[in-house]
Subunit: 294 residues, 2 copies
Amino acid sequence: MRALIPLFWPLACLLAGFAPLSSQGVIDASRAEEWRPLVPENTLYMDVGGSTVVFELAPELAPNTVRNIRTLVREGYFNGLSINRVQDNYVVQWGDPDAEDPARQRKQGIPPTLAPEFGRPAAGVAFTPIPGPDGFGEPGFVNGFAATRRDGAVWATHCYAALGVGRAESADSGNGSELYVVIGHAPRHLDRNVTIVGRVISGVEALSSLKRGTGPIGFYETAAERVPITRIRLGSDVPEGGRLPIEIMRTESASFRDYVDARAHRMRDGWFARDSGFIDLCNVRVPQRARARP
Amino acid sequence: MRALIPLFWPLACLLAGFAPLSSQGVIDASRAEEWRPLVPENTLYMDVGGSTVVFELAPELAPNTVRNIRTLVREGYFNGLSINRVQDNYVVQWGDPDAEDPARQRKQGIPPTLAPEFGRPAAGVAFTPIPGPDGFGEPGFVNGFAATRRDGAVWATHCYAALGVGRAESADSGNGSELYVVIGHAPRHLDRNVTIVGRVISGVEALSSLKRGTGPIGFYETAAERVPITRIRLGSDVPEGGRLPIEIMRTESASFRDYVDARAHRMRDGWFARDSGFIDLCNVRVPQRARARP
């Protein structure tokens, strides 16, 4: 396939009088129906350390855990808690710093355990593959979320900005009350070992630029270092004027396929001296753009 | 090859009465000669924003650019300059903020252009492959540096913490006076488009946790935001008591091969519910440890 491209493109350009598009060119040429809005019920707004971080949830990939998180958020469970762990090139993690102390832990109205959603049967999940190879399985996307498919299963992938559910030793110990975001090179060894429930779509830099914790695995050593979370709200509980006015390119669209190809051929952007001819799953950043208000 | 492992390991364990080692187990069982010290001439110490960041240079992969950087460092070229760009999930970059103004730019005693060292002929370079697949070529290491080999060439790979040489449009415009470090998911589309000269071996968190720049491609918008560089010194100009007392596992050793395998099989570490059975090049962190002082 790859060998055909150098033969095919010059011929196509000669015949049709067009050059392959850069990634920006693909975005500019895309059709309105190749973009989708955010669903308010599937977005979270976290006010933390003076910034707002916005997440999109992935009920397609982890329906029960997403439901638990919605319950916790509506209860105000996270309000007043803190970021307690920042490990370089790995994760930022938040929750109740007293979670392991029964006398001091914050009450929550959901069960302490939950059957893990480390992956799902691939059948029935709308998975759009992108070109491989990929050492972990077949790379692709499910409704905007990086995912991997293999042996009849599909799972959300630990790319930069992925939102995951912390757990203890036992697989069912992650109920959504302890969350983390990836802030480094994709730790894909965590795939299928924890439940991923979404990704950051705005403000990840407010998490990734936090001071690293100096305790084991990046925990802050003192309470004073913890970064307070003012509140987390569900998008549907945010007044409409305060919601993030963006739209996201549909990863099942023809333009997204062309966009991925353009990102593997960066000479189309200028500056580049060589094309890699390949892009790995976690380097594909799904295009998003300002949405004209209706 | 992969299919053999499940057959082979239980048999081996049964016969020899041992279980495959975890990554820490491999490190503990390694022999002294599988580790190497740092060469002072190939290390840089950067004092910046109250921290010290230590780099190891890779003359095996970019001899002429490394030579230029040594000259610049010995001249004190970087002392008093600043970090001017911090782009989230991408790079931290430093140099002369007035480099494009002939009247104000800092003088330097090296030529403004240099033939790029985007890659080298693979022949004669001691390359240790690790298991693929890898979409960019054959993954491996050259003396501790992540590298990729393909079509008779070998090049240093843009993994987290890689040290690269900024350049303008023309390929020969990077002489080493403008440097950057990768602080996000490996941007391997940059491979063979810029010269990589080494990597951070200590203190990368002092760079990756910096406030992100809000200007285009992460440049700080005001001079006040820039992070001053007190000085950069060559390890051989640092008094011996001030040098980083570590040693690095030889990537051509048998223990390193076993370490890479252990990192693809994390169930050996406990906690993990599943092995990925694979690790990608940029997630392999070359082991380093405190070196007993002679």
